[in-house]
Symmetry: C2
Subunit: 348 residues, 2 copies
């Protein structure tokens, strides 16, 4: 198959023209470029809106390998991680372009499975796949995705708006993806694993099929009290550093208030590992980290809980040189520990 036949094989018949039209698409896959109507009404977004654009790439051996992810998972997660960037601005995802660089030994059917996962994610989040490109790759699979979205003009939630004295909030537990990856890599080394079970399945799911927090982002934007927002892609510490640097203030996180999922805690206990490293540096959790006044955070927590969504108040900001510290309660009293900025490198 040539490039065009391959792309047709992977993409045709997946999304109807009418369905794409509702997402602003005037011309999808098949020409030199796609066409979008920037004045099209977008369901749930009050006009006038701004366009949101983000691009994120997944590389074999850096972000995944054949042990940790199926081809369906690779396609799903490549789009999900991009949608998360739209969620982190408070936006609604709309369209995506996908570029795959494919090793020659990979047959078209494996790539079709990658597109199966990609479209599963696209359908779940209402994203129209409108273009991209396919090239060969000398050795490793690379999947680059660009995603577009819409957000009410002037309302997007940025990293840079945190105020001193804000509460630091988090929309879900962290560390589950890293725990799932730990299990997958340990499983490879040890064969079938006695630790496997229902709870591990949740962790593996968190790693392979992460759920971007679109609904949480929209709720936070609508409340109009959120000062800053980031998605946790590179790890909690790294994202807190970004807010600290972009907003020019110091962030303190309270260890005992960090949410720990039961499945992660159980797995870490069975494996004899302190999960704090996963929680602070694991990344790829795709929950949202933000800041707002403490009273607004308490109100947001009530609103999130009434919708069945988790919401945690995990720290506070203060005027000062940008930095992130973890406050731990120990038998010897309160311990303040400066957190490194560096994200976690999954395969080192």
């Amino acid at each position: 198959m040539d490039e065009f036949a391959s792309i047709r094989h992977w993409t045709s018949g997946r999304q109807s023209e009418e369905w794409q039209r509702e997402r602003g698409v005037r011309l999808g896959i098949g020409d030199d470029a796609a066409l979008i109507d920037p004045a099209a009404p977008i369901a749930g977004v009050t006009p006038p809106y701004e366009y949101v654009l983000a691009m994120d790439t997944m590389v074999e051996t850096v972000h995944f390998n054949e042990t940790t992810m199926s081809y369906e998972d690779i396609g799903y997660k490549a789009l999900a991680s991009n949608i998360s960037d739209i969620a982190a601005m408070g936006g609604v995802p709309l369209q995506a372009l996908v570029s795959v660089s494919v090793p020659r030994q990979l047959g078209p059917e494996l790539m079709r499975r990658l597109y199966d996962g990609l479209y599963a994610c696209a359908d779940q989040y209402g994203v129209a796949i409108i273009g991209g490109d396919t090239t060969s790759s000398p050795q490793h699979l690379v999947v680059a995705v660009t995603v577009t979205g819409a957000v009410e003009a002037g309302k997007a939630l940025r990293r840079s708006g945190a105020q001193p004295g804000d509460a630091v909030v988090l929309t879900g537990p962290v560390g589950m993806s890293a725990a799932g990856l730990h299990f997958l890599l340990a499983q490879r080394e040890r064969g079938a694993d006695a630790l496997a079970g229902e709870r591990v399945a949740q962790l593996v799911q968190a790693h392979q099929r992460p759920a971007p927090s679109v609904r949480a982002g929209r709720l936070l934007l609508a409340r109009e009290t959120c000062h800053s927002l980031n998605d946790v892609s590179d790890g909690l510490a790294s994202e807190a550093w970004e807010i600290a640097e972009a907003s020019g203030l110091a962030v303190s996180l309270f260890e005992e208030q960090l949410p720990r999922s039961g499945s992660m805690t159980a797995y870490a206990g069975a494996a004899g590992i302190d999960p704090l490293e996963w929680m602070l540096y694991g990344g790829e959790d795709y929950v949202l980290l933000g800041s707002m006044e403490l009273g607004d955070a308490a109100a947001a927590q009530v609103a999130f809980h009434s919708e069945g969504l988790p919401f945690y108040i995990i720290g506070e900001t203060a005027a000062g040189t940008p930095a992130v510290e973890l406050i731990r309660k120990t038998v010897k009293g309160e311990l303040r520990q400066r957190l490194a900025k560096k994200g976690y490198n999954h395969f080192e």
Copy 2:
């Protein structure tokens, strides 16, 4: 340097906020996503406009290697090839996102040179760099670019509009990029080359720093007589096939009317090579291939020439099964040769 420090090192201070604002940008590099005002006036484009989106990737050893391209060239060409897709729709390029997957052995200074070339192209074509991402790569450099543009609503030039009886037109010579690549690869094998000189410099330039045909695309769109349009990225034969298949008709190209640059002809003669293969299958010429009624093509030719731009009438379309043939005049009379669809693989 971490990812964010690297990105700042490569991108900060390159384009002013005001300059980006004139291209619709409300928030550029530095957050989870960029923000664009889809109602911003765009110089030279009559509202209402549609948004144009394309994505194209360059992979080391597939599209370039250290012998054929400097790092500045890689950055320049990665953006130029994307701008060409906007030109092929008759659009004006506006913004770009850039994802680089970088082998560990590549230092930040080589990447800075890549960004030097990227911004040189961005400045030349007025494109705002608004985002992207950086990952490591196990071995090969991969540069994926998404470019946006604007085109008058409903006016974009597509592949699918060719009519039977159209003249096939071309906005510049083909085969120069392939000739330049041939020289670069031959030079590697033979050391300093006796064929080098002024004329070869033009061919090398065509390969390393291609010029997307934005002005030609805008002229064709404004004339409102162009039925179909493609850019010559994969080779003349391949692009003619795309128009033939998308429009459901047959394309004939007249060999003696194909434009040959003097430098390409001279180099091919000195190297003892028939350049027809380069012209038909070389690709990466980034001129435009289209179709329109013969009388309109003649009028367009006059208009292009009066602006100092080349314009060639090189073939015709006819009702029939999609196919592309080359009509050659030989001593034995007219020879009709069916052209393969396959594009050229540069390194095979």
